[in-house]
């Protein structure tokens, strides 16, 4: 798995750097800073130490015992990103970008957030490093995720509600870009997934790659063989790219990205960009986008806030078109059922995002039969979702 080309393209046409000129040099500076850091073993040493002591890595793998409900299913193994500090894979990336921000001498960090997970992870690294953090969050999400808003504030971050557009993640991202444009010199923008303009999709993947590298070694050690399948949910795509990165060179391992079908792939209420979108430019790169024929970005829907995004990382578009990975979708109902099943049968309350991946992985494990070995990325814990599910179940 290599760097994209000089202009930030994966394969022929996915990626790039579609941003206003005011940000161009900031991205170039970021790329230079990133290249220098990536070439510096002391940077990785710092990153590794932080992942170990602060984040709690390596995260374990856990064999499920009751999840598929049958002994005829494949072995189903969870990669436990839910055990990370702040409860999801997001922190792997914010630690990396935070250290890079400090190395580049930036005085301030900004971030966008939807459900609040990336905002919390960014506020967290800002607090640890002593760098002030401003988080942009759609007004609607500020209301829906009041608890995470308070956690970000506890961590010393300022949270800015964004009132434009659909008042959700997409608009928060727009606003973060705009804020960056206003203060490029002293500000580091920590993007939360493998999206955005080059070098973000590559950089975030490199910071999430630890998931796949660990998981590959762990599975080999425990089972003496590689998994037959690797499954991850795809919002922007960072947890999926992170785990895929460990296995993309293993031709025999099938890679599955699970999108949020919402009310259904063919409904208007979906968030499955790769399955129901078309190629376009959003937030600085070319990839699949849920959009109208006129090129307006569509409103999306998923029960899971972290998957409720109209775009997807360009490297996934490349993996899809090249056939290396397969992208499927799981709807709200199936994800919700799996949320409950995982809690009741495995003692783990998964993030609703991760429940999408689990649902598909569980199906796959039953299909594969006892010889299969399915590895699924449990990208986060579901504490953040409990209130929403409770409200949902009460209806």
């Amino acid at each position: 798995m290599r760097k994209p080309d000089g202009r930030g393209y994966f394969g022929e046409g996915f990626g790039g750097r579609f941003v206003p000129e005011v940000l161009y040099e900031a991205l170039a500076e970021l790329e230079r800073g990133m290249d220098a850091a990536f070439a510096d073993p002391s940077f990785w040493a710092e990153y590794d130490a932080m992942l170990r002591d602060f984040v709690g890595r390596p995260s374990p793998i856990l064999e499920t015992t009751r999840l598929t409900g049958t002994s005829e299913a494949a072995t189903l193994v969870l990669k436990r990103e839910d055990l990370n500090h702040t409860g999801a894979h997001k922190i792997n990336n914010t630690v990396g970008q935070g250290l890079l921000a400090r190395r580049m001498g930036k005085k301030r960090i900004i971030a966008e957030t939807g459900a609040g997970q990336h905002g919390v992870a960014t506020a967290t690294i800002g607090a640890k490093l002593g760098i002030p953090v401003d988080v942009f969050m759609g007004e609607l999400d500020v209301e829906r995720q009041a608890l995470n808003v308070y956690v970000m504030k506890l961590l010393g971050a300022r949270v800015h509600p964004v009132s434009g557009g659909t008042r959700t993640l997409k608009d928060a991202t727009n606003e973060a870009f705009r804020e960056w444009a206003a203060r490029v010199e002293d500000t580091f923008y920590i993007i939360g997934s493998v999206v955005g303009a080059h070098p973000y999709p590559y950089m975030v993947r490199e910071f999430q790659k630890v998931i796949g590298v660990e998981a590959r070694a762990q599975v080999l050690e425990r089972y003496g063989r590689l998994p037959s399948d690797v499954v991850a949910c795809v919002g922007g795509g960072s947890n999926a790219m992170g785990i895929f990165a460990g296995f993309v060179g293993d031709a025999g391992v099938r890679l599955w990205g699970v999108e949020a079908a919402g009310h259904g792939l063919h409904s208007i209420d979906t968030a499955a960009s790769l399955n129901a979108g078309t190629i376009g430019v959003l937030h600085g790169s070319r990839s699949y986008v849920l959009q109208t024929r006129e090129g307006q970005v569509r409103d999306t829907h998923s029960i899971s806030a972290g998957l409720d995004y109209p775009g997807v990382g360009p490297e996934h578009a490349f993996l899809k078109d090249s056939g290396r990975a397969t992208y499927v979708a799981v709807d709200d109902e199936e994800a919700l059922a799996m949320f409950h099943a995982c809690a009741e049968r495995e003692g783990i309350v998964p993030a609703l995002e991760s429940a999408h991946a689990l649902a598909y992985a569980s199906r796959l494990a039953r299909e594969r039969g006892p010889d299969g070995l399915v590895l699924v990325n449990l990208s986060g814990r579901g504490d953040k979702d409990v209130r929403q599910v409770a409200a949902f179940d009460e209806r």
């Binding site: 005011v22 161009y24 040099e25 557009g165 430019v281 986008v289 006129e294 090129g295």
Partner: protein, 280 residues
């Protein structure tokens, strides 16, 4: 005449008349389709040298709240690429100044680049500003625009390194768009004239091409300073703020007032009339 030639002619005329050029920006279809047409007529009547016409877009990364909200209103009323081109066509038919479209790249991609270029030609538009396509990504657009004589001016920002700025200036047709300060469009934040002065001088030392100043030009005083330092002032958010909440004749009247102020500001004060400026 090609689009580029029409732009060149417009700047040449302003230069010949010894004044700065005025480039108002409007968001097509805002506050409603018919008022939008009225406002364009108003702009033509006020002697605008070029009109910048935005294709409404829901996720305008380079725009502040004023233009973003205008685009939302226009989209809510169904104004898309074709309706925008029809408005541009209307300006041409009415004998107005060259119209330069302002559009994000995604609507172009969905329209198809070649088809979009053809449509511009058909509507008599002079070209397009595409703020989220940096020069590195310009290839395809340029391939479609150049043979059709359509302009593709580039923006230079305060964060653009000097050498890159010269390269961008050289690659711009029609004029060079110098962004007055960091950040996105919007009338709230002041232009940085010290920086503009320096940058325009550097460009002029190397490139013989008109320079327009945009972002944050909100008042006559701003416009005057802009045309003292460069060739043209681009005014967008301030115009939209001026008609905010109104429509029809009322909106037109408000735009007329601001355009008159800007028009006065772009004309050099004849030395003999110096006292006039003070007493006005």
């Amino acid at each position: 005449m090609t689009g580029i030639e029409r732009l060149d002619a417009a700047f040449a005329r302003a230069r010949a008349e010894g004044r700065g050029a005025l480039i108002p920006y409007f968001c097509a279809g805002d506050p409603d389709p018919s008022t939008s047409a009225l406002l364009l007529e108003e702009a033509a009547r006020a002697g605008s040298d070029v009109i910048e016409l935005g294709i409404p877009y829901g996720d305008p990364l380079a725009d502040g709240p004023t233009i973003a909200a205008a685009a939302q209103r226009a989209l809510a009323q169904g104004t898309g690429v074709d309706a925008t081109l029809a408005l541009a066509d209307g300006v041409r038919r009415g004998g107005g100044p060259p119209v330069l479209l302002f559009t994000y790249v995604n609507p172009i991609l969905q329209y198809g680049i070649e088809g979009f270029a053809d449509a511009l030609v058909a509507a008599g538009a002079a070209g397009a500003i595409v703020p989220d396509v940096p020069i590195e990504e310009m290839g395809e657009l340029r391939t479609a625009f150049a043979p059709r004589g359509l302009a593709l001016p580039l923006l230079i920002a305060p964060s653009t390194p000097p050498a890159r700025a010269l390269a961008l200036a050289e690659a711009s047709d029609g004029f060079v768009y110098v962004v007055s300060r960091l950040g996105v469009t919007g009338a709230k934040r002041e232009p940085d004239f010290a920086w503009i002065e320096e940058r325009v001088a550097a460009i002029r030392a190397h490139v013989d091409r008109p320079v327009a100043i945009g972002f944050g030009i909100a008042t006559g005083a701003h416009a005057r300073r802009a045309v003292e330092l460069a060739d043209a002032a681009i005014v967008g958010s301030a115009l939209i703020d001026a008609y905010a909440g109104t429509a029809g004749e009322e909106a037109a009247a408000r735009v007329r007032t601001l355009l008159a102020e800007l028009d006065a500001a772009r004309r050099p004060a004849p030395r003999s009339e110096g006292h006039d400026r003070v007493s006005r």
